[in-house]
């Protein structure tokens, strides 16, 4: 039997690969409580990696897609609407399967894109890993969900704000940067906080479906499932992983709450829109 300190040393970074701790995961009767606590905690590295990168990249893309959908030019609004419809109307679980099986079909040696004067070779082998391919699917998914939120916020920007901007002689990108974008963000922020939480929760789906966990390095829920398969006892690993996710959720609420205060710093405190946790669950 390992002591708790040994489990900590062996497994706290195990999710990064077999070079960062014990080569093999604990098996069968050898599993201790501390193994479960630390190995599942080490899986959180990947949950945070997927969630943080997907939110950061998806945010920028979502603003673009939302503006495109709001555009009066059908050349922009139609494709943006279609993109949102496809990714919000189908399950993330199926999206993972679809993109994985599509990425597998790409040639391993890379794809050549002739640009006339020079040929660009795009390395495609990374796409079949969860760390790149899975992240791309998550980014596309959260872009669609957030774009819909931002689009709703764009629609409900007070008319007076826009008229005031016109009166000040603002137009084009200046008007967007100084009036439209801050108003949109302020209106969408409470629901965007929810979106960030559910994106974090849905990082548990990455290794459940198609993307392989190389060297058994997976995220927290992957390890929880592993332990339940090994010990046939769901009453320990699942509540543990649930507890970790409650902590992650609280951390997100805290960080986004600070941002919310900053976005509304010009308003008297009682007029600030409060965040309400309204779970939307499965994507």
């Amino acid at each position: 039997m390992r002591s708790c300190a040994e489990s900590f040393q062996g497994y706290i970074l195990r999710a990064l690969g077999r070079d960062y701790g014990e080569r093999l995961l604990p098996r069968g009767l050898d599993i201790t409580l501390c193994d479960q606590i630390f190995l599942i905690a080490s899986g959180l590295i990947w949950n945070i990696y997927f969630a943080a990168l997907a939110i950061a990249i998806g945010f920028g893309l979502a603003v673009g897609v939302a503006v495109a959908k709001f555009s009066e030019n059908r050349l922009f609004s139609k494709p943006a609407g279609a993109f949102i419809f496809v990714f919000r109307g189908s399950p993330l679980f199926i999206q993972f399967f679809f993109f994985y099986s599509a990425f597998v079909l790409l040639p391993r040696s890379g794809v050549d894109i002739p640009l006339g004067f020079v040929t660009l070779t795009v390395d495609t082998s990374a796409l079949t890993t969860a760390q790149v391919g899975g992240l791309i699917v998550l980014v596309l998914n959260t872009t669609a969900y957030s774009a819909e939120l931002f689009h709703g916020a764009l629609r409900s920007i007070p008319k007076g704000d826009l008229e005031a901007a016109d009166a000040y002689g603002l137009s084009g990108f200046t008007k967007f940067r100084r009036v439209v974008f801050p108003s949109m963000l302020r209106l969408a922020w409470p629901s965007y906080t929810n979106e960030a939480i559910f994106l974090t929760h849905s990082t548990t789906l990455v290794f459940l479906s198609a993307f392989p966990a190389r060297q058994q390095s997976g995220e927290a829920f992957y390890y929880a499932r592993y332990f339940v398969d090994q010990t046939f006892n769901p009453f320990l690993a699942y509540p543990l992983v649930a507890g970790y996710f409650v902590c992650l959720t609280l951390a997100i609420i805290g960080m986004f709450g600070l941002m919310n205060i900053r976005l509304n710093r010009h308003l008297p405190s009682e007029r600030r829109r409060r965040f309400r946790f309204r779970p939307q669950y499965i994507r």
């Binding site: 099986s101 009453f235 699942y238 992983v241 939307q280 499965i282």
Partner: protein, 293 residues
């Protein structure tokens, strides 16, 4: 299926596909789409029932019931859904076997959890040790329904509770002024009127339920995801219909299926919303009244 299907290797293209898409395993694949629809058809009313009970518990003035309702709704909402979907079937299965074990084998002297095994006596096995395969399938499916109903019942409870609160207070006061009891007022005034307030939330939950159905695959049920993986995988010339890796196309078909499902239900809920708004004391109802007059 067709008379020309006896030797697929010599067929021209369209006939090859006609035979391929109607062979025995594909028929099972198509049946799996039915399984998804059956799951939706069973789970939705069950979850709505659970949700209604949850909402009543949230409204209850008896504090143990009220606390029970609050606890249930908040625990399910706070924990990632997927954990619940995998936890409930296995925990419930073990719970049922444990109860059966206590009833059937009172003089069993060994512990039930031995190391990593969960051991109950032969009579306590559910489904029985020599149950036919279809009983096992039904049992697994029922477990999935319970897990879905528990999770979505909590979501529905929250929505329905909000909808009950949204029925104008004056209506209830009027009912009471007519001498109705609290219970009568609830049944005759609140219950019929709350649906229009609940509809946007319920439609949202329904869309989420649709998108949760592929998780059946994780519960070991042979659903559309299972068959898409089986059928799409590369088939060598040992098979009657050899083909390269076609999983992408199978999953594309699933994507289209789900898109159609969510699109159609959005339309259906839109129509239902119009129907329920008729004669209601809401802006939409008022607009319809004016248009008719």
């Amino acid at each position: 299926m067709f008379s020309f299907c006896t030797d697929p290797s010599i067929l021209p293209n369209w006939q090859w596909f006609a035979c391929y898409l109607t062979n025995a395993t594909h028929l099972q694949f198509y049946r799996a789409f039915g399984v998804v629809l059956v799951l939706l058809a069973i789970t939705a009313p069950v979850a709505l029932g659970v949700g209604l009970m949850g909402a009543l518990a949230l409204r209850s003035q008896i504090w143990p019931i009220n606390w029970l309702g609050k606890g249930y709704v908040n625990i399910v909402r706070g924990v990632p859904d997927i954990v619940f979907f995998l936890f409930v079937p296995i925990a419930l299965g073990q719970g049922i076997e444990w109860v059966m074990h206590q009833i059937n084998c009172p003089d069993w002297d060994q512990p039930i959890r031995q190391g990593n095994d969960f051991i109950v006596c032969r009579e306590a096995k559910v489904p029985g040790a020599n149950a036919p395969a279809w009983v096992r399938d039904i049992y697994a499916f029922a477990m999935a329904v319970v897990a879905f109903a528990l999770v979505f019942g909590a979501f529905a409870a929250n929505t329905l509770h909000g909808a009950m609160q949204a029925v104008p207070k004056a209506q209830i006061e009027t009912a009471e002024a007519y001498g109705m009891t609290r219970r009568q007022a609830f049944r005759r005034v609140v219950l019929p009127q709350m649906w229009v307030f609940a509809l946007p939330g319920l439609s949202n939950i329904w869309q989420i339920l649709i998108k949760a159905t592929p998780l059946l695959f994780l519960l070991g049920i042979q659903d559309i995801v299972y068959w898409a993986r089986e059928l799409g995988g590369q088939k060598t010339s040992l098979f009657a219909y050899p083909h390269p890796d076609w999983r992408m196309w199978y999953f594309l078909a699933l994507l289209v299926f789900y898109l159609f499902l969510t699109w159609a239900s959005e339309r259906a809920f839109g129509a239902l919303n119009t129907r329920l708004s008729r004669g209601q004391a809401t802006a939409a109802g008022e607009r319809m009244r004016k248009a008719a007059a």
